[in-house]
Amino acid sequence: MSLLAQSSAVIGMNIKSLPRRLWMSLAMVLASAVVVAVLLAFLAMAKGFEATLQSAGQEDVAFFIRTGSAAELNSSVMKEQVDLLREAPGIASDENGKLVSPELYVIVDGTKRSSGTDANIPLRGIEQQGLALRNNFKIVQGRLFTPGTDELIVGEGVLRQFEGFELGKEVRFGKNRWTVVGVFSTGGNVFESELWADAKVIQTLYNRGSSYQSVRAKLTADARLEDIQAYIKNEPRLNQEVQTEANYFAVQGEGLSYMAIFGRVISAVMALGALAGALNTMYTSVSDRAKEIATLRAIGFSNLSAFIGTMAEALVLALFGGVLGALAAFLLFDGLSASTLGGSFTQVVFSFEMTGQLVMQGIWLALFIGFISGFFPAWRATSVPVAVAFQSRG
Amino acid sequence: MSDDNLFELKAVAKRFKKGKETISIFDDLNMTIKRGDFLAIMGPSGSGKTTLLNLLGGVDQPTGGEIVFDGARIDGLSEGDLAKWRANNIGFIFQFYNLMPMLNAAKNVELPLLLTSLSSKQRQQRVDTALQLVGLADRAKHMPSEMSGGQLQRVAIARAVVSDPKLLLCDEPTGDLDRQTADEILEMLQLLNREFGKTIIMVTHDPAAARHATHTLHLDKGQFVGKDEPELQEKSA
C-alpha cells in the first residue's frame, strides 16, 4: 500500500471514531475556537479603532494649536492669529478663498444608550471652509445648520451611542438649547463622534469672544511643513505649532494603542493556556487508542502513516474549532459599535471591524494549535515499540 | 448450625431483570462452607460461578434467601456495612491481579491495611511479612509494570492476606498464567490453607487448578451437580 493510501485509511478510521471520543473531540474544538475568538475580538477592536482615528487625519491638512497645549481642548487661537495663519505659505484655495478652518471645541454631556449615564461629547464650532476641508463629509439626514442660529448637526456615531440626538429633537446643554437639524457622516472616522454647530454661535454662547481653539488648513501639493514652521517662528504674534492632521490623530490615539497591546498580550497568554488544554486532550485521546495504533502498525501500516493519521485528526479538529471561533467572533463583534474615552476626555465612537485578512490570521492560529497539539502525541504514539503498546492495558 | 460453618447459604435466589424478561441465576441454592475448607467451584460459562462469588464476597445482594457468615446474616446489610465487612473478613484474588499501577508492590499490599487503625509502623511490619510469605521481599519497591504475571499474582495474594482475613475469594486466579507459574500460585494457596488455616473459595474452569482444592463443586444452570455435593462431603468428612 502506498503511504498516501495507508494514511488516508488511518485518517478515515480516526475520523470515524471521533464521535466515540465525543467529549475529547469537543474539548479540542473548543480550545481552538476560544483562542481564535479571543484573538479576533482584540484584533477587530484594534482595527476598528485604527480605522476611526487614522482616516480622520489627512496628510495634506495642516493642523495648528497653541504650543504645548497637546490637544484642541486646551488650545486657543485669537482671531488675529487666524488671519496671520491664513497667510502662511503653501495653503490651498478654492472659489471661497483660502481653505482655512478656524474651529472651536467645547465638551458637553450626552446620555449613553448602553449605560444611561452621562459621557462627554465634543461640540465643534465650524464654518463653511471647515466642511469643505473634510473630504468625506456628507449630510445623511436633514440639512446643514443655518449659520447664526442655534441649530446643530450630529455625527452618526453620536446618534448610535447616545440618546436624545434624533433629527428634530431639542437638546439642552446647561442653559443653552439647540435643535438637531441634520445627521452627518464623515466616512466612519472620529468626527462622527462629534456635534457640529456654527462657530460664531458657540463663541457667543460660551463667552469665547472672537477666539478659536484650532485651525485646519488645506495644503497645496508642493507645500512643506518646514516652511510653515519657519513662518510661525518669524511671526512673533503667533504662538502656535503646526503638524499634519494625520499626525495629531495618531498621537491622540496612542493611549488606546495600549489597549491593543494589552489585548495581544492577553490573547497570547490565553492561547498558551488553551494550547496546554488542547495538548492534554490529544495526549489523552491518543493514549486511548494506543492499542489501535499499535494494531495498525503490527499488521504492516508504516509508522509515518499512523503519525499522519493522528496529525490529520488534530488539524481537522483545530481547524473546525478555528472556523467556529472565527464565525462566533464575526457574529458577536463585527460592526459592534463601541465607544471609549479618547483624547481630551471625550468619547470616540468606533466599530469593530472583522476583515477577511483577520479571519485568515485566526485560521492560521487554529492550524498552528492543531499542529502543536497533534505533533507531540502522534510522535509518542508512533515511536513506542508495538510490543510495549500492546502490553499497556487500557 | 455448627460453629464449624463459616458460610451458610439458605434458599438463595438471584434474578436479573433484562428488559421485560426476568433471568433467574439461582432459584433455591443451599450450601455450607466449613472453616478451613479449600473449595473449588467449577462450571461452564453462564453457570452462575461469578455471581455466586460476588454473593459470597458481599459485592452483590441476593434477591431472596439468607447468607449467613460466621453466625451473622450479611444479606441485607447496607453498602457501607458490607464494605466494612469485606475489609474485615475477605481477601480477594482476581484473574487480572487488579493492582494499582501507580503504586509499588509494598504500597499495593498495604492498601487493605489503610482500612484498619494500625499505625504506619505496624502496617509496614505486616506488609513485610506478607511479601516474605509470597517470596517477594526483594521486590517491595518494584512497580507493577516491572513485574511478571506470576509475581503480580503473588503481590495480589500478599494483599489478600495482609489484613489476616478469615476467607480468601479467588476468581480464576491462574487464568492468565502459564502452567508452571499457575502451579506455584496454587501451591501457595494450599500452603495458606494448610499452614495458616485460611478458608479458600476458588472459582475456576481449569480442572488441574481444582485438583489443588480439598473439595470441588460443579455448578450448572444455577444448581450444584455431581457427587461432590457439599452435604455429602459434610457427611463424609
Partner: protein, 385 residues
C-alpha cells in the same frame, strides 16, 4: 489522612498530564488575577469615595468652570459642613508626555475636606506660608524622585504664565500620604490664589467645588438645594456624590472596557471548562481501579472524598501558582505604570475570589467522577474492565 499518599500517587501518575493541566490552570488564574487587579485599579476611585462628599460641577460639563462667588453661596446652604474648591492645571514636567496631575486648590480647606490625606503639621504650615509651594502626593513624589525643598518647574498645557511661557516654578513644601493604600496620591496641589494671580488670563472662577455634608443622609437634599439655587443662572450646576461622579467617569471608558473584560472572563471560564473536561476524563479512566478499591472494602464516601481531594489539589496547585505569578506581574506593572494606573494592587479580595474559583473548579470537576464512583456498581465495573 492515610489516603493522602494514594491521592498523591493518582495525581502524579501521568507527569505530563499533571504538568499540562496545572499549566492551563496556572494561565487561567494568572490572567484572572492580573485582569481583576486592573479592573479594581480602574474602580478604586469609586471604592475610596467618602460617603458624605459631594462635588459641584458646571452643568454643561466638568471641563467648564464655575464663578468664584459660588463657593461662598454653597457654604451657606444648610447641611453643608466644609467646602473647598479646585482648578485643573493640566500640568506636565519637563516634556508634554510626562503628565503630572496638578490642581490649584484652596490651601486652607483642601486637606480638611480630603481628610483621608495625611500631612505633617509643620509641612502644612510651611506650605501655607509659601505662595509658590506645592504639596506632592507620596506616589507622585516617588515616581519623579522629588524631595522636600526641591524646586520643580511645572508646565501647563492650558494656561500661560504672565511672565511669559507656560511654566511655573514651584517648591515642594510637603509630601502627603494617605490613610489607605488604595487612595490615590499620584497628584499635587498648589495655591489657587497664586495660580490666579500669575496666569495670563486672570479671571474669577473655579473648576469645581467639593464639599462635605453633615450626614450622608443629607446628600440628596443638599445636592438638590445647591442645584436649585443656581438654576437659571449663567452657570447652572450639577451636584453629585463623589462616588457617583467617579463612577460616571470610569464609565466613560465605555463599553470597550466591558467588552474586553467580558472576553477575558469568557476565556477564563473556557479554560476552566477544558481543564475540567480532562480532569473528569482522567478520573473516569480509573473506573476499574475504583471498583477494586471498593471490593477491598474502601467505603464509597471515602473514595468520594479521595477523588474530591485529588481534583481540589490539582485546582489549587495550578491556581495558587497562577495567582502567585499574577501577584508578581501586578507588582511589576504597578511600578511601570504608576503614572497611568494608580492603585494597581492584587488585594485580599481578589485572592479570596480566586481561591473561591479554585475551590469551585476542584469541586465541580471532582464531583461528577466522584459521584460516579460513589454510585459505581462493582459488578458492572468488572464486567467492563
Amino acid at each position: 489522612m492515610k489516603d493522602l499518599y494514594l491521592v498523591y500517587k493518582n495525581l502524579t501518575r501521568k507527569k505530563l498530564r499533571l504538568f499540562l493541566t496545572s499549566f492551563a490552570i496556572f494561565i487561567a488564574f494568572l490572567i484572572f488575577g492580573a485582569v481583576t487587579a486592573l479592573q479594581g485599579a480602574l474602580n478604586s476611585g469609586v471604592e475610596m469615595s467618602a460617603d458624605n462628599r459631594l462635588v459641584v460641577f458646571n452643568k454643561i460639563n466638568f471641563t467648564q468652570s464655575l464663578p468664584y462667588a459660588y463657593v461662598n453661596k454653597v457654604s451657606g446652604i444648610e447641611g453643608v459642613n466644609q467646602v473647598t474648591f479646585a482648578n485643573w492645571f493640566g500640568g506636565y514636567y519637563q516634556e508634554p508626555a510626562n503628565q503630572v496631575v496638578t490642581m490649584a486648590v484652596d490651601p486652607d480647606s483642601y486637606f480638611e475636606v480630603y481628610s483621608e490625606l495625611v500631612v505633617a503639621p509643620e509641612q502644612k504650615a510651611n506650605w501655607l506660608q509659601n505662595q509658590a509651594g506645592v504639596m506632592v502626593g507620596e506616589r507622585l513624589a516617588k515616581v519623579n524622585n522629588w524631595q522636600i525643598g526641591d524646586r520643580i518647574p511645572v508646565s501647563s498645557n492650558i494656561f500661560s504664565n504672565k511672565n511669559g511661557g507656560q511654566t511655573w516654578d514651584l517648591v515642594v513644601e510637603g509630601i502627603f500620604t494617605a490613610s489607605d493604600p488604595q487612595v490615590d496620591t499620584g497628584y499635587m496641589v498648589f495655591h489657587y490664589k497664586y495660580f490666579m494671580e500669575t496666569q495670563s488670563w486672570g479671571g474669577d472662577y473655579v473648576g469645581w467645588i467639593v464639599l462635605t455634608t453633615d450626614d450622608p443622609a443629607l446628600n440628596e437634599q443638599v445636592a438638590n438645594a445647591i442645584d436649585e439655587s443656581f438654576a437659571n443662572s449663567q452657570a447652572e450646576t450639577d451636584t453629585s456624590t463623589e462616588k457617583a461622579f467617579n463612577k460616571a467617569f470610569i464609565e466613560q471608558i465605555g463599553n470597550i472596557g466591558l467588552i474586553i473584560f467580558g472576553v477575558v472572563f469568557m476565556a477564563f471560564f473556557t479554560i476552566l471548562v477544558l481543564v475540567g473536561n480532562t480532569m473528569v476524563l482522567a478520573i473516569r479512566e480509573r473506573t476499574g481501579e475504583i471498583a477494586v478499591l471498593k471490593t477491598l472494602g474502601f467505603s464509597s464516601p471515602r473514595i468520594f472524598r479521595m477523588i474530591l481531594t485529588e481534583s481540589c489539589l490539582l485546582a489549587f496547585i495550578g491556581g495558587l501558582l497562577g495567582l502567585g505569578a499574577a501577584y508578581l506581574v501586578v507588582g511589576a506593572l504597578s511600578q511601570m505604570m504608576a503614572r497611568f494606573l494608580p492603585n494597581l494592587v492584587l488585594g485580599p479580595d481578589i485572592v479570596l475570589q480566586a481561591l473561591g474559583y479554585m475551590l469551585l473548579l476542584g469541586l465541580i470537576t471532582g464531583i461528577a467522577p466522584a459521584y460516579q464512583a460513589l454510585r459505581l456498581n462493582i459488578i458492572t465495573a468488572f464486567a467492563r474492565g
